[in-house]
Assembly symmetry: C2
C-alpha cells in the first residue's frame, strides 16, 4: 500500500517563503504583545462543544470540527480563541488587577468550504482585555492594530463602527432577539434588501426604520460621517447618537484616524459584540485581515457576572498572504555554509558551525559526503553568501578557505581569524 | 445555565510564569533552528488516521484522538510531527537538494491518562533531516540538542545507543517481526525479565542470546563502555560491533561527549528507528525532555522509495517544567507603566505608550479611570519599575512625571526628554 501524500482537504503543508512569511507575521504579533505588555497564555485546542454553542448558538456545529472523545464528551476543535480566553478568565483570573490584558497565538479550525484565503486550519494572534469598560481601551487596541500593519508596511484601512447603531434602532422598533440578529447578519453580508424585508415585516414603524437602516448600512466615510449619522438619528427620532464611536475617536492619534473608515451601520459576523467593532482591510485583498470589538456581556451569556471586555484577532495567514500578494516574498537563506570536503575535516567543520551559530549567524553545515563540485552546487542552491571550506590540508595547517559565493573570491585564513575573515568576505561586521 | 470553567480533562490553561517559560523554551528552539539553518514549516494538526497507523500499527488508535470528519474521513489529531513531515516530504520536497533540514513547532495530542509532565495536548519542536545517510548528520543533531540545553543552562545527560545492537542479535537468533519489537518494548520499559522470557522461547540459541541481551540491557557508561560491548559481541559470536555509534562519537566535540551516557542495549518507544537513538534526561526529572534517532526506512513503510532520515523532537512543556523545578521561574513584567490620571491626559498618554513601545520597551498603559491611589496600586501590582504619570497640569505645561516605583523617587521632565528621563529613572540606557 502506498501512502497518498496529500493532506486532508483544506489543510496545508507550508514550507519555504510561505512558512517564513507566516512565521514573520507571527513573530511581529508576539513583539506587539510584548511591547504593549499583554500577558502570554496558552489555551486548549480541544474544548467542550457547549463552550461555543452557549456563545454562538448550536448552528455553529455545522461549521465546526465536533466529535465525541473516548470518554463520550462532545468536544470541538476551537474555531476561535475568545471563548477559551473567557472560560480561563472565569476559572483563574477573576482576582487579578483590572484591566487585565492577555494574548495568545493559536491554530483554529473551521469546517468551511476551502477557498482562497480560507482554510480549515489557520492561525490567529488573539488579544483580549478583561475588566475594561472604558472606550480608551478600544482606542489602545485600534492603535495597536494600526502599528502592527504599519510595521509590516502593509497599506490598510480600519473600518470602524458600533453594533449599537443598528441594534438600538431595531430595539426601539421592537425588532429583537433572533430577528434583530438576522437583520445584522444580512447587513454584514451586504444583503441590505433582505435586511429591509425583515424590518418591513417586523418594525413598529417600518417606513421610518427602513429608511434609517438603509442609510446607516450605506453611509461610510471619514470621521465627519458621524455628524451625518447623528443628524439622521435625531431627525428620525432615535435616541442613539454614536457616542461610543465618538469617544474612541477622541482618543485616537491623527495617524490612526487617517486610515479609519467609519461605517455607520457596521455589523460583523459574531453575535456577541455589544459596542464598537472594527476590521482591518488591505486594499485589493478580498477578505479582512484582522478584526475585533467590544463584548461586555459574554460572561453573562455563560451564566457568570458581567465583565466588560474587548479584544481583537489578527488573521495571521491572511496577513501573510496579503504581504505575499504585494510581492513581499521573504526567504531566510543561510548566510554562511560550512563545507568539509574531506572526512578528516568534519570534526573541525562542526566546531566552525558551532562558532558561527553561537554568534547568531545563520549557518548551514554540509553533513553528507559529496565531491567538491557537488558540495559547491549544494552551497549555491542553499542561497548562502559565503562558504567556509575545510579540506584535510587546511585542517592540518590550521587554516580555513573562505569563499564569497557571489563574487567567487576566495582566500585562506588562519583558523583563529575565522570570524573576521567571514565578516570580511560578507563585507559587513558580523555582530551588528 | 452556568458554564463549567474547567478545561477538558488533560488540557491546560497556561498563564503567568508557566506560559512565559513555555514561550521561552519555544523561542530558544526557534533560534536554534535559525542559526543551524533548518527550514521552517507548518504542518496540519489533523491528518488521515492511516498516516499514523501505517507507521505505528493500528494499536496506536488506543492513545490517539481519532474521529470521523463531516465527509466521513477517519482522521486523527497528530500525536507527533514526524509522520506529517515525511508525508509532506514525499509530496513536495523530493526534488530539493539533500540533505534537507526542516523544523516545525507543533501542538500534539495523546489520549493518555493525564499525570505529572504528561498532558493530552503538549508542544514539541521537531527537527528532521531527509536524504541524510551519514552519521555526521546525527553528530550535528546531538550537538544541537546539547547546545540547546546548555543555552537554557539546564544540566543534562544525553543517553545514546543504537537499536541495531538488540535488533541484530535478535535477527541472528531468528527473533523477528512482532516478537523482535516486543523484546525491544520490554527492554525500553525496563522489563528485562519479560524480554528474556520471549528470547528464551524464540531464539535459536536461547542461552547465548539471553546472556548477551541481559548484559546489553544493563551495561551503560561513558564512551569506554563501547569497548566492553564490542568485546562481548565478538566473544559471543555476533556480527554487530557498534560501528554506527562509534562513527557518531568520532565526530562529537569533547563537551558533548562529556554529557553522554552510552547505553549498549538502548531501545526507545518508536518502532521505526533503524540505528542511532538518543534521549536527553535532566537529573532528578522523571521523564526525558527530548529524544530522537535515525529512521532510514520509514518512507518504505509508506510504500515509497528509501530516504535515509534522522531527527529529534524537543518536549517543550517538559523542558519548561524541568526549568521550573530548578527554580527558574521567569516572568516578563512591564518595565514602564503609563498612568494618565486625568481624562485630558489620555491622548498624550497613548502617545507616550507608543513612543516607548516603538523602542521595544515593555510598557503598560492604564486604560481604566482610577483614582491616583488605585492607579499606583495597579502600577505596583504590574511589576513595572518606572511609572510615567500624566495629569491635566502636566499635559498643559508639556511635562511628564517619572517615578521610580522601587525607590519612590519622582521627578518632572519635559515631554521632549521623556526617554532620557525614563532611562535615567531605570538607571540604564534604554536602547541597549
Amino acid at each position: 500500500m502506498k501512502l497518498e501524500p496529500e493532506p486532508v482537504r483544506g489543510f496545508r503543508d507550508l514550507f519555504g517563503e510561505d512558512a517564513e512569511l507566516l512565521s514573520l507575521v507571527m513573530k511581529k504579533a508576539e513583539k506587539l504583545a510584548e511591547r504593549w505588555s499583554f500577558e502570554r497564555s496558552f489555551l486548549p485546542t480541544v474544548e467542550r462543544f457547549e463552550l461555543f454553542a452557549m456563545k454562538s448558538g448550536v448552528e455553529i456545529e455545522r461549521t465546526m470540527y465536533v466529535f465525541l472523545d473516548k470518554a463520550g464528551r462532545k468536544v470541538s476543535l476551537r474555531p476561535e480563541a475568545t471563548a477559551s480566553a473567557v472560560r480561563a478568565y472565569l476559572r483563574l483570573l477573576r482576582g487579578r488587577p483590572k484591566p487585565l490584558k492577555i494574548f495568545t497565538i493559536v491554530n483554529v479550525f473551521r469546517y468551511d468550504e476551502p477557498q482562497y484565503a480560507r482554510y480549515r486550519e489557520f492561525y490567529q494572534a488573539d488579544f483580549e482585555v478583561f475588566g475594561a469598560s472604558d472606550p480608551f481601551e478600544d482606542a489602545e487596541l485600534v492603535t495597536m492594530l494600526h502599528e502592527y500593519y504599519e510595521e509590516l508596511d502593509l497599506p490598510h484601512v480600519i473600518v470602524i463602527g458600533s453594533v449599537r447603531a443598528l441594534r438600538s434602532v431595531l430595539e426601539e422598533e421592537g425588532v429583537v432577539g433572533k430577528e434583530q440578529d438576522l437583520v445584522l447578519h444580512y447587513v454584514d453580508k451586504g444583503l441590505v434588501d433582505k435586511a429591509l424585508e425583515v424590518v418591513a415585516s417586523k418594525a413598529r414603524n417600518p417606513e421610518r426604520a427602513g429608511e434609517v437602516i438603509a442609510k446607516l448600512a450605506q453611509w461610510e466615510g471619514g470621521e465627519e460621517v458621524i455628524e451625518d449619522g447623528k443628524r439622521l438619528m435625531k431627525e428620525m427620532g432615535y435616541s442613539y447618537s454614536f457616542e461610543d464611536v465618538e469617544e474612541v475617536l477622541a482618543y485616537l492619534p491623527e495617524d490612526v484616524k487617517a486610515v479609519l473608515k467609519v461605517k455607520l451601520g457596521f455589523a460583523r459576523g459574531l453575535a456577541y459584540y455589544t459596542g464598537l467593532i472594527y476590521e482591518v482591510k488591505v486594499p485589493g485583498f478580498p477578505v479582512s485581515v484582522a478584526g475585533g470589538g467590544r463584548y461586555d456581556t459574554l460572561t453573562e451569556v455563560y451564566g457568570w457576572e458581567r465583565v466588560p471586555a474587548t479584544g481583537f484577532a489578527i488573521g495571521l495567514d491572511r496577513t501573510a498572504l496579503a504581504l505575499k500578494e504585494r510581492g513581499r516574498a521573504y526567504k531566510e537563506s543561510p548566510l554562511v555554509i560550512v563545507l568539509p570536503i574531506a572526512p578528516e575535516a568534519r570534526k573541525e567543520a562542526l566546531a566552525v558551525q558551532r562558532e558561527l551559530a553561537s554568534l547568531d549567524v545563520r549557518s548551514l553545515l554540509l553533513t553528507e559526503k559529496k565531491s567538491v563540485k557537488k558540495a559547491f552546487s549544494y552551497a549555491s542552491e542553499s542561497g548562502a553568501r559565503v562558504a567556509v571550506v575545510l579540506g584535510r590540508k587546511e585542517v592540518e595547517k590550521g587554516f580555513v578557505s573562505v569563499k564569497n559565493l557571489v563574487t567567487g573570491e576566495q582566500r585562506e585564513c588562519r583558523r583563529e581569524e575565522l570570524l573576521d575573515c567571514v565578516a570580511n568576505a560578507l563585507k559587513r561586521p558580523l555582530e551588528e
